[in-house]
Symmetry: C2
Subunit: 250 residues, 2 copies
């Protein structure tokens, strides 16, 4: 995942070195708790399928590129997602999970998201790549703080900014400058992307107890739907700020 | 490009270390001849767009995969093609050519090939990946012997066998074993692929004089259509042998 710059980072996420609870443990220690282990397998499965689905969509969107150089740029983003997928899949194997089984529960939600948000042109594809990646980055960072040190390191590595944000932002801004009416259409599109992402995420939260419980502050504290709601608000707020910066009223 | 094993290698291709003419020169020396330089820019442009188009088609075909593991395997092949594209594009830049301009003359033929041969199911996609890659490998090897040492090294590196042949061959064989009637349909499909590849190649040969002249034995010797025909026969023969080995009468 890419596109995240330090100024985009949700305010509440702390990189403080003084970690407590599971965040202070390594995988071997943390995984002794079977509920934590199940949550991490879920998380890695969701991220792995997310990367594989992103690969497919970016490769598909590359067909909409107006020039060969643009096509190559989207193909490069797709290939980067594929390499993230490989790391996540290999980690699942390493911790004794079957990657396909781990990914299966998330196929319907992610395929649903992509089916509902197939871009109709090149600019919609770029906005989707930017928005999708930013939301995913926010989510990775939200969750990283709650993970054991080994899993956290992998999740943050997969989040690495490969500098593609600049490409999408620059192209979208230039297009809106050239034809300001595009702004309205793309703003609507970005809202639809966010709405669909939230709706599919809520589906996953409702289905996967262990994962959801971990997302809201550790398996020991029980499931708190209100905290999941707050996490979604933080991600939505960060999205709104990014859209304004892009010249799109979200 | 992949899939080539030593036993598939057309008999006439010699890896003899005693090279003469352009094959004994490095790029700096050989490129002093403007016709040779133009031919290499054409060749690298054709290969680069070929890899980019192959990336797109494999990524597209990954959607037809019956399992997540199969999907990942095709995505991996696509990603490997993309990295080949990057090397070829970077080399074009290095020798002072504009990659997009170098690729442009080959877009119509390669897009035409892929449009005419969109697989209708997973097995057709696998046969296409195998056949397409094998033909491309044969072509790379044909041409490598006629190149300066620096260009030859790049072309052979991009040809590297990443071991995907085994995957495609194994899946297709198992499917035919399970349902022998598939053999007839897939044999017909492989014939159509070869026919379309030849027809598009002939279009390129007719259009690109410098490239065609180099392909048939060096720019000094003039253009010889009969020799191009012989090259196509050698590639067709190698294809026929591979199809028999796969259980498909070609």
């Amino acid at each position: 995942m890419r596109f995240m710059t330090s100024s985009d980072k949700p305010d509440h996420v702390s990189d403080s070195p003084a970690r407590t609870g599971i965040a202070a443990q390594d995988w071997a220690t943390a995984a002794a708790d079977p509920q934590y282990r199940a949550a991490v397998v879920d998380l890695l499965g969701a991220l792995a399928y997310g990367e594989l689905a992103a690969f497919e969509r970016l490769a598909e969107d590359a067909k909409l590129a107006p020039t060969l150089a643009d096509k190559a740029e989207l193909a490069k983003m797709a290939s980067a997602e594929f390499h993230h997928f490989e790391r996540l899949r290999d980690r699942l194997t390493e911790i004794g999970a079957e990657p396909t089984e781990a990914m299966d529960p998330f196929v319907a939600a992610l395929d649903g998201f992509h089916r509902q948000t197939a871009p109709s042109d090149w600019l919609e594809g770029l906005v989707k790549a930017y928005v999708g990646d930013s939301i995913a980055s926010d989510f990775y960072r939200e969750v990283a703080a709650r993970l054991d040190s080994d899993t956290r390191e992998l999740v943050l590595a997969v989040l690495d900014d490969t500098g593609h944000a600049g490409f999408a932002v620059e192209k979208v801004r230039a297009a809106i400058d050239a034809d300001p009416r595009l702004g309205g259409r793309l703003a609507l599109w970005a809202r639809r992307l966010m709405g669909e992402a939230l709706s599919q995420s809520q589906r996953v939260v409702a289905d996967r107890d262990a994962l959801s419980t971990m997302l809201v502050g550790g398996v020991a504290d029980g499931f708190d739907l209100a905290e999941v709601g707050r996490m979604f608000s933080r991600i939505t707020e960060a999205h709104t700020k990014r859209m304004s910066a892009l010249g799109l009223a979200a």
